[in-house]
């Protein structure tokens, strides 16, 4: 996956919500990672930049960061798949494969005790088809 920028708001696409995280600060190192990596500021909730990434599949997703009073920013995020016009939503596994790339990027960035090996092992144990078999 890679982050991309658009000059406009991408008219002609509809946004399909595929993942919601309401407690990005449950383990605060995740919130801090997004804040640092994407240079997010509390004022971004009032007209800040849009954040898009393109998965290896070519599908484009917008990541919307959520702020709430009384909570550190960002307190949550929403991942929206951009689907052209009235085209159908892809199958769940296709979206899950794209999101797995996002999770790998995120875990690699958060670091510390949150390792890619732990993510892949958890995915393998719980039968995520894109997870790699852990090295014994």
């Amino acid at each position: 996956m890679r982050w991309i920028k658009f000059e406009d708001k991408l008219p002609g696409y509809r946004r399909e919500l595929v993942l919601t995280e309401t407690r990005l600060d449950h383990y605060d190192e995740f919130r801090q990672f997004f804040r640092r990596e994407l240079e997010l500021q509390p004022g971004d909730v009032d007209g800040g930049n849009n954040h898009y990434f393109r998965a290896d599949s070519g599908r484009i997703y917008e990541v919307v960061f959520v702020g709430k009073t009384g909570r550190p920013f960002p307190c949550g995020l929403e991942i929206l798949l951009l689907v052209e016009d009235i085209e159908p939503l892809p199958e769940d596994d296709e979206i899950d494969k794209d999101l797995w790339e996002f999770l790998r990027w995120m875990i690699a960035g958060v670091g510390g005790e949150w390792t890619l090996d732990a993510l892949e092992s958890t995915g393998y144990l719980y039968r995520v088809p894109f997870a790699r078999r852990p090295v014994k």
Binding site: R23, L24, A118, S121, T122, Y126
Partner: protein, 303 residues
Amino acid sequence: MVTEMPPIVRDQYPFQAHYLKVNGRIMHYVDEGDGEPILLLHGNPTWTFLYRKFIPILVKAGYRVVSPDLIGLGRSEKPCNDYYNSLLHHTSNLDQLLTKLGLKNVTLVMQDWAGPIGLGYAIRRRENVRAMLLMSTWAWTDVSPFHSSIFPWRMMHAPVVGPYFLQRRNALTERGLWLSVVNRDRMTEEVIEGYRFHMQSYDERGAFLRFPRMIPLGEKNKENTAYDIIKQIEEQLPRLDIPALIIWGEPDDVFPKEWAERFYEILPRAEKPIYVNAKHFIQEDEPEFICRELIRFLRSLKE
């Protein structure tokens, strides 16, 4: 989403549905039989389906069996927000259920999150609890090795990763249940469908994620968990003089068997724990044995 129960599930779970409102939310419960009331309480990611084999046995033995689905799970309302799902909410909901049904002198059967919920009720309404059965649960703020490990537990409910595993991929139902029983040949597709069909969509599965995030990790991250409320329960346990039966799975890897001994040592009126060949979802592994022991225990209290 409202769906008619498919025959594959109804055949395993032939109980009439009852509903009432607790704290503004619609709660589903089973209410079968006549006699002294036994409350069968489940945790995450299950619903009263977990007790489908208990209900006929206990009814036949002459008890009234009431079993509610926690708000957010099973056939109860599943709000799409974070604000309904605290330990205090669930304990208050249980209190409301018992009050509205006029149930007195109840026996609480508890496993997983039902432990902190039911024990939270018992310390507040001591006079209304006749007896308790504790299975694969906890009520203290220190953490089991399973819950403290990154792989797989904390990774599975970490930010962003959690909604992926627990809501998008329904990992606890599709795989976790199977991993946490001894008798895996009993976890057939029909049984998994029983757990799956009320939680079919992403939005319906929010509680699957919210419960793991409430589990205290000791002093770490305490403000984001149910630490303070469970601490209150923990402090009250030595004074909870209610007859208690403890049945635990010897190979339970979620709540280790040492924690059965811990309940035995803390609770003033507990019987010595009974161990069986079961894991965390002990109700799937040993339903007949547990019911037999519970009936024996309750009858012994009359003598």
